[in-house]
Symmetry: C2
Subunit: 623 residues, 2 copies
């Protein structure tokens, strides 16, 4: 292709030229998906006009400098329309036609079936529908309230995904915060995966909902480039968060598939693709140089201020959630740390951060999915989020956490009120599945301190970990075990009691470590020496200490305030399997359905009290 | 207490008398929580007038016959207001004053901190906020569309929980289905756990949202018993799903705490409680006999029609998701089986059921939380729901699944498109955490068939299991392994290859079983005999077969298309730990972050191909 063949479009290009770009995006969407034999061309065709106008005239973005902090953000919530996104990349000169045609959806290449941040122009992974708007809110909040950058956030989403509650959690927050730097384009193409959507083309219904949630709604014909241009101009007027409800046709521009059922997620067969390209006016190689953001260098790294962690006196009774709150406030000395709450900050003690650093504290109310989405959005902008709620209620955001791992985001989560230990509130409030959930997150770190000193230290450590880290804390107050100078490396453990005559090892974390210590006393009274290990690092686990304990004592008892599956017991077994150690083994975990009661009653009923631990240890020793 | 002291209220009682009942509910809420020293009295006081009017004049319910299928349903979404609910039970004569005062929130008793179905008047557990409306929609759907019973569903919810997206998923469905038998009472008391709610007393904003989602909104003063009575009358007019937005005062009736921050979730100290009871007019013992539902016996059990499962020819390539769909349609011969879809029925093959039994098929669109809530609501009414989506997207409903286990509900879930096996769509669509999630659910059964015959058989088996069962299915087509007469008991396994010279056992399920079979062939070519086990029952697992394999072959290789944590490998290790067997062990699972590619490329990159299995087996055998 010679320079003469390439026309470059920009903000000053007329709308007929922009329509030509839209046709090019359609053609390339068809070509790329047909070339590989899978993908979502029809879902791409419906939004091509929206994206052509956006990238030519409104998206302030330098494709050669995606890290420019002043650049706009585009989130493809309808990630399955990746052919359209990648066709935009081609039009921007970011990828070649060859890369698009030969690598899309292929192994080892970056143009995956759904966009992920392996691409420099993609902030975060999408493909689980109903998440993009939520992430966009987080990025927009960071831009306006933390970075004070001029960028706008644009989110393209489908109409099917508007059925997800997470969309309304997000729009509620966009409205509440009056995020005038935030615009959603809803591609109302009427057809979902398996048939018509619930609201089909009832754009007025979408608009009523959007406005009821505090955002501005603009209803347009999503194929009228002038109307699109006008709506995008209005959206950028700085007055309100805006949702453009665009009536579109799925498969627009290709008569054989337009507005027809049965074409979701299907590449066009080669012959149909050929006719489609012809109908769309053939292959083009238009280039786009849209509006540029102001030149801005990334903000210089703020000086690392010293973090003065709280100190606790050994023997004092302090809840790990209390230590977490105080440590979190201290970690706030690092200016990139932000904290997010789901209206339980007085229980989780995250409110300590709010008092110390109110400008970096975000109250999401009881909306855990949005809390995680805000965290992800802020992490995309380089912040270090700590998001906290009850461990039980983090399950509400499981899919967001899963996707954050695909996005390879770094964030810290804290779940409080774990286990039956919480007492009278009963099982709805007890986190009994959180270790299984968080261990199975790709690349996660899982920490579970037993005392205030380690809780504070690990809270600080999380600010230096990559990926998703999780801290599990306990409601009640238990004795401080460690002096303030003790260190708690990730992947480590603490052996609190040991000797040359150890015949069994008791392994706990959180409240169960205290049961293990008490059980060891009782066993000692009977002349049985027990080693006790504080397994504060659940993932990665201290394989060396476990292997040593297995070899030296021959018998392990693991005690956890969690269901038996996926927690500490299985982490220990996996570690021992890997090192080839085969000790006698007992596993105490919560197998009953708990009710209300005192902490001691519930721990005993679940078989986790010191008595049970001692009994399990004795049973292992029996010849 | 003598008969003379007891006044019984009913539908004909005047409103001043009903107000006396409201005061009694307040007094008892204060007394019960102060007696135990915990609980949520102020959140109970705000809703006392609403509940007094409801139970006296509108709730058609026979407290002595909670199983009457014509009786109304009351869901306390704000489950923390359990003192109010239990005070209602006392007023109804269902529990005694003594039980309320001496057992609330105490160990081994049924009046737990948050209500659960251990109480005969409670349908399902609440306490994770934002769920009650969703469950109510499911019950209302069952009543109107399945049972054709005249009951109404009433849901009391708090204002804080209106920030949960799940609330709007639910109201969207109430509106879509025009559920005129469904009424929500929102107790807008302005104060959440840690401060004012996002919308405080902006009842107009709530009303706009409710109406935008297709429900009727009635805004009232929630302490005006006449207004409440009028609104509840209107709600029952059979015209529309209705949300009563009631402006209330938290702590209403007790001046020292009314509308004051800092009193959420706190029992009143004894002296304050004494003053509160006096201010509220002292202790009363009013009884309520509200409107009765028509006498109706539970519907006779429908005759068990024979289920004719599809049959497959050994060797044919059939996807387990295809077999699931066909079997589900067949299981529909049982008239209490219902199926729920989240707009992916053409991928999961749940749509086969829609074609066979359209009247028992519910399309929830892309709203997985509501799909599970519908299932729970229908299960409460005695139906056997099968809810299906991609395994990855079941994580969206994790908190609902968790709570369903607390409710001890019976339902079947199916997650399709598990693992990297799905290919080009990439990681957002891959279920890689679902086994960990589902194994950790209390009382769950987890099944993972490798071929069409077992998939069909297990689909049918789920209709007879108690609790929450989960079937994991695979996207691609693999050879049928079993003839149609083979049986697949829960907790069993199939040994597909074995002999007296087995030196290693290869354990797989789903796609990895086929890799194990291929690896065994390669090993045999090298003179190494391998046993191969199809571990279709992941929870419970076949401990005997595993122990036997460990003893007889001495070496186990577990291969799973799932993250290493919480899945099949750890299930096997837990089983072996319990039986005391200690074979050499290798675990192949997905530790990489996958991208797009073909199935074979992705399985190989994740280390799950036959080559990797054979290599791992050889490594175990090395001296």
């Amino acid at each position: 292709m010679t320079a003469a063949q390439t026309t470059t479009l920009g903000p000053e290009s007329d709308l007929p030229a922009v329509f030509e770009l839209a046709q090019q995006l359609r053609v390339d969407s068809v070509r790329a998906s047909t070339a590989v034999g899978s993908g979502h061309p029809t879902s791409s065709l419906s939004a091509a006009d929206l994206m052509a106008v956006l990238m030519t005239r409104h998206l302030h973005y330098d494709w050669t400098a995606p890290d420019n902090p002043a650049g706009d953000h585009l989130v493809f919530s309808k990630g399955h329309a990746s052919p359209l996104l990648y066709a935009m990349f081609k039009a921007a000169g970011a990828v070649t036609d060859d890369e698009l045609m030969t690598t899309y959806r292929r192994f080892g290449h970056r143009l995956q079936g759904h966009p992920t941040p392996v691409l420099p122009w993609v902030d975060l992974a999408t493909g689980s529908l109903g998440q993009g708007i939520a992430y966009g809110v987080g990025i927009a909040l960071a831009g306006r309230d933390l970075e004070k950058e001029p960028y706008r956030v644009w989110v393209l989403c489908g109409d099917s995904e508007m059925a997800e509650g997470s969309v309304w959690e997000a729009l509620d927050k966009a409205g509440q915060h009056r995020l005038a730097n935030f615009t959603v384009l809803v591609d109302v193409n009427r057809l979902g995966q398996s048939g018509p959507t619930e609201l089909e083309w009832d754009t007025a219904a979408y608009a009523r909902r959007v406005e009821a949630f505090g955002c501005r709604a603009l209803v347009i014909d999503g194929h009228d480039v002038a109307a699109i241009d006008q709506a995008l101009t209005t959206a950028a007027d700085g007055l309100a968060p805006t949702v453009i409800v665009a009536r579109t046709v799925k498969g627009r521009g290709v008569a054989e598939v337009a507005d027809k059922e049965g074409w979701h997620g299907k590449a066009l067969p080669a012959d149909l693709a050929e006719r489609a390209v012809a109908e769309l006016g053939g292959i083009r190689h238009l280039r786009v140089r849209g509006p540029r953001p102001p030149d801005a260098a990334p903000a210089p790294a703020s000086p690392a201020e010293p973090v003065e962690l709280p100190r606790f006196d050994v023997g004092d009774a302090v809840a790990t959630r209390v230590a977490f709150g105080r440590a979190l406030a201290a970690v706030g000395a690092r200016p990139n740390v932000v904290a997010l709450d789901a209206e339980v900050g007085n229980s989780t003690h995250a409110e300590d951060f709010a008092k110390a650093h109110p400008e970096r504290y975000f109250q999401t109310y009881i909306a855990e999915q949005q809390m995680i989405a805000d965290a992800v959005g802020m992490a995309v902008r380089g912040y270090r989020p700590y998001a906290t709620t009850f461990a039980a209620f983090l399950t509400r955001a499981h899919d967001f956490i899963r996707m954050a791992a695909v996005s390879q985001v770094t964030m810290a989560l804290c779940g409080t009120h774990c286990g039956v230990e919480i007492g009278a509130d009963g099982p709805s409030q007890m986190g009994l599945e959180d270790l299984a959930m968080m261990r199975a997150v790709h690349g996660s770190t899982v920490l579970y301190p037993s005392d205030a000193t380690s809780a504070a230290a690990l809270t600080a450590t999380m600010a230096d970990l990559d990926g998703i880290s999780y801290l599990r804390t306990t409601r009640g107050a238990y004795p401080v075990l460690y002096g303030g100078d003790e260190t708690f490396p990730v992947g480590g453990s603490k052996t609190l009691r040991h000797g040359g005559q150890d015949r069994v090892t008791l392994i706990g974390a959180g409240v169960t470590l205290h049961a293990c210590l008490a059980a060891a006393e009782r066993l000692a009274d009977d002349g049985v020496e027990a080693r006790v290990i504080d397994l504060y690092s659940v993932k990665p686990v201290d394989a060396d200490a476990l292997a040593r304990a297995a070899r030296e004592t021959g018998a392990l008892v693991v005690v956890e305030d969690h269901h038996p599956e996926g927690g500490i017991g299985e982490a220990v077994l996996s570690s021992l399997a890997a090192t080839g150690d085969r000790p006698a083994f007992a596993h105490l975990a919560v197998t009953v359905l708990p009710g209300s009661g005192t902490t001691d009653e519930l721990l005993d009923a679940a078989g986790l009290s010191a008595d049970h631990v001692a009994r399990a240890a004795r049973a292992l020793l029996r010849p």
